[in-house]
Amino acid sequence: MQASRFWLTRPFAERSTQLFLAVLLAAMTLVTLLHVALPQGHPLHVNAYTVNLFGKYLSYALLAVAVDLVWGYLGILSLGHGAFFALGGYAMGMYLMRQIGDRGVYGHPELPDFMVFLNWDALPWYWAGFDMAWFAFLMVLLAPGALALVFGFLAFRSRVTGVYLSIITQALTFALMLAFFRNEMGFGGNNGLTDFRDILGFNLRSDQTRLGLFLASGVALALGYLLCRAIVGSKLGRVCVATRDAEARTRFLGYRVERVQLFVFVVSAMLAGVAGALYVPQVGIINPSEFSPLFSIEIVLWVALGGRATLYGAVIGAILVNYAKTVFTGVMPDAWLFALGGLFVLVTVFLPRGVAGLLAWRIRRRRRPDDDEPTGSEVSA
């Protein structure tokens, strides 16, 4: 039964959240210690490259949590979450670009290199303000949030759901990718934004900054996770599940289903934006390929593999798949797409509830051996 607590602090009472936070904290501490305390060359030393890699995984994990929030609990399969991720990334990239100042190749005091190269003589209006960190960080939330708000408002109001929604979210991110490829957009076209120097005055190439970004990603993941937990653990979370399983019924109970969908969709988009903003300084580049439909659908795979509607499953899935990707592309790059494609098939056919659901699924199978219908707690898409 639900404990009557303040909604934001409620997750702390949940066993799964406590465990998740403990594991995350332990992992972050361990990596930090192994990186800082052990000398280079020590077999257990974690080098800066690896710290950076882990930081990247954590920002991906936050993105996966955002997707799980809408897909797992609300039943909206967004194939366009990469767009929100990329928008957050571009907002951060614009800030980092402005931080370069006159240290660019062309040494222009204000214009980024690519604009000088295109013979532009002034910053476009939408670049204004991105030299200020607070403004840029606000935009990390607002830009994806605004897109999600407009898109979601239109879609949910017209009750576009299910497969249709998936297809148009995919079209959305595809259209954005094409748009960002254009030099005229003023976002660096094909090459995107890169050659960043520092963030908030810290040199991006120093090991300390990398460790700092890793820790920031971990903290952001923890906070994002807590926020999502708080939402799904509240009555609103139960309304989400109700919407997912029987939208019309929920409507007849008097809930404004489209507003619930819009609210959760926007929150999710903002989380994705934060993930993108943390990702960009760690990889040092943002370009239109983050908008590609392939990336967006890959995020969904992370969640599916980890286990939908669990949140921690999304984190597990994101880290597992990306770790596998790092290993595979290093050892045999050609095999990676085979492995990825195979994962898609295997997970959906044999592991519909993902790694997280594997155990629970087995237990229930044993209890009800002759029933193949999806049962109560099983997620139906």
Partner: protein, 278 residues
Amino acid sequence: MSLLRSLADRDRVFDFLVPATSPVDVRHGPILYLEDVTVSFDGFKAINRLNLTIDDGELRCIIGPNGAGKTTMMDIITGKTRPDSGQVWFGSRHDLLAMNEPEIASLGIGRKFQKPTVFEALSVFENLELAMAADKRILPTLTARMSGEIRDRIEEVLVTIGLAELRARPAGILSHGQKQWLEIGMLLMQRPRLLLVDEPVAGMTEQEMARTAELLTGLAGKQSVVVVEHDMGFVRSIARQVTVLHQGSVLAEGTMDQVASDPRVVEVYLGAEDEEPA
């Protein structure tokens, strides 16, 4: 944090304020009033100039052969389907055609579907919690807290529908009959003025049917109840007023005995009683 809490506390008040005052104006008698309603799908008139009046506190049974337009009528009242022409009034103040589904629901019209639809992934208790009359906007829902009073109300309904033992189990594991009762329980949580119940006993055993009849007759008086049903035995056991629909309009109206002796009704419907599935 304590400041936030006090804010959240204030929200609690709204949960109870909203449902308690029903704005429905029934001084003129009828709680539901349909006039000249017509709706067609691809040229086929599912409802054809239908007129129907339901009084406050009445228990009305609506019968009719398949395709008579019973479910479509429910769809129109709850805002799911828009009629091509006609008027639908709730009390004498609310024009239902000008409202959408959640608005109609929050006005106090509850509906039970033909096929029981409960939220299978949620527990029985949570199903009732969601159905409860409350402020259903987003932020109040997000910050909603379980008070003793709410818990008592849910427990009360759990007992009424006989599912107290199963309160923590997911609704998906309930039997067909139990799901039907849970759905009626959810309607009760809404404290509706008007209950629309679509084939409540389809697929039920004799005992379950008797229990359902008991439930529905217990509701009448406090709430107005409209029951659409095929099963004649069941209708006879609960009905005071019966309306017969045929080809989208009213064929006959009156007590069960009056209706049963109407030759037109016998011709289109009662004559085929034996063939109706129980």
